[in-house]
Symmetry: C2
Subunit: 277 residues, 2 copies
């Protein structure tokens, strides 16, 4: 038997057609497996924790591989990252996916089945005016440079109302209302949310002219298909004043996708942390 190695992986989701290997698509898993198979001259198969969708980013994806390659585990990130940078050379050569760390695990450890929970962050830039005329230079620049890294909303959102609404998510509930169709088979739609926070930040630079950065931080023992994006869409509608914070309680009880808000787009979503024992 080879070593069972747990990799921590970060990627810019805008470059990939999601995590999962698919014929004819440039995916994170496919790209990593191909690069590593070529590098180590053996077929490498990764077992990832979370199947992120196209456009979704990862700050802390986890995946295991079982291998007998003769490279010290602590050297693996450097060696794999060099291969991922391809023709580019030097310590800061560019790649849209990188290995942040590698760690040897017990033989029976599994990246997905042993996962005790995950944290996601959703980034919103609110108060954006995109009418394209002189005056809102800030939005115009953000639309160019942040287009793949946050979700732009025209209204100034009421972050306090969103934070209040998020409190109703915490705990163990049936989240059927926040599940999109098309996901993987699951035994139950009950999940436990550990934390759900709405943070108001200052927009990156040249900011202050009305735009605002809002981050939704949510952690739990597991998430249904598109759950964080539907929660985000619902919280945005609450921030817009279209719904009341207490609606979240009613939506959960309804167990009906139609009751919840829209599905926020993938580009604002980051897989931020994966928890093990």
């Amino acid at each position: 038997m080879g070593k069972n190695i747990l990799l921590t992986i970060a990627y810019d989701g805008s470059v990939f057609h999601g995590w999962q290997r698919q014929p004819g698509e440039f995916t994170v898993q496919g790209h990593l497996e191909q690069t590593m198979s070529r590098l180590f001259k053996q077929e490498i198969t990764l077992s990832g924790t979370s199947r992120t969708d196209a456009g979704v980013h990862a700050l802390d994806q986890k995946a295991t591989l079982v291998t007998d390659i003769n490279v010290p585990t602590e050297k693996l990130p450097l060696v794999i990252n060099n291969a991922l940078c391809g023709e580019e050379k030097g310590p800061f050569a560019k790649a849209p996916v990188r290995i942040l760390s590698a760690r040897e695990m017990p033989e029976d450890f599994h990246a997905r089945f042993d996962c005790k929970g995950k944290k996601y962050i959703y980034k919103i830039r609110s108060g954006c005016d995109s009418n394209g005329e002189l005056g809102d230079l800030e939005t115009g620049l953000s639309l160019v440079f942040d287009r793949n890294y946050c979700y732009h909303v025209s209204e100034s959102l009421d972050a306090k109302a969103m934070a209040e609404a998020a409190q109703y998510l915490i705990g163990t509930h049936d989240f059927k209302s926040f599940e999109a169709s098309g996901g993987n088979p699951r035994e139950t739609t009950v999940r436990t949310i550990f934390e759900a926070k709405v943070l108001e930040g200052t927009a990156r630079e040249g900011s202050g002219n009305g735009t605002q950065d809002i981050e939704i931080h949510i952690s739990g023992d597991g998430f249904l298909y598109n759950m964080v994006r539907i929660i985000t869409g619902t919280l945005i509608e609450i921030g817009q004043g279209k719904r009341e914070p207490a609606d979240v309680k009613r939506i959960i009880e309804a167990k009906d996708r139609q009751e919840a808000g829209f599905t926020a787009p993938p580009n604002g979503l980051y897989l931020a942390e994966v928890y093990y024992e």
Copy 2:
């Protein structure tokens, strides 16, 4: 005669093979001309202020077009941006280049010949540890998400020394030492630098563990080929302690490219402002 319209344009240079139209390459000028020609059903030719290289960004590129199209000038940004977003719909649809404003100018106005000066910003992330092992998560994430938007340097740079060095650039000098070969023909290598500042910022997020954001702001009446990138490379070497701040004076006097520092890569460079009367 049609209207002479001045456009303000922002773009993410990582997506384009530079500004200038070239057969078989995806360039900003080529993409804009093609999109606008299709949109307005007539051949559109842009006359841009600055021929930015591949990978270089623009916050404030300018270009004129002469046209008789029957669209109010103030509506042009919206109409063109919609076309640039292609299949995507909605005010925040994504495009790597956008028109920030449009303004009608006198018939004899020319975006390049009437330009009185430009400002560039160069963004550096210093103190980065890329050994790929556990411990410098921050650099790993920055290498993924900022790879196209700043230049990563491993050393902690002495920004004060860089700022001192930058002072020697201000004024009217022969900048031959800071010119790369391969540029366009020019009458003289004498240029006037109005401002040269080195700003220390705080790194974007999750920062503080040793990395630092440094911006070089430089404005002048004109710049030679790769001049800002060679100035940046020289200032970085001063920040690393490999050269003294006063070396800049000596380098200018030498009028010899060999005396100056390396050419910093394009991904940290932003055309930040274009000045007219």
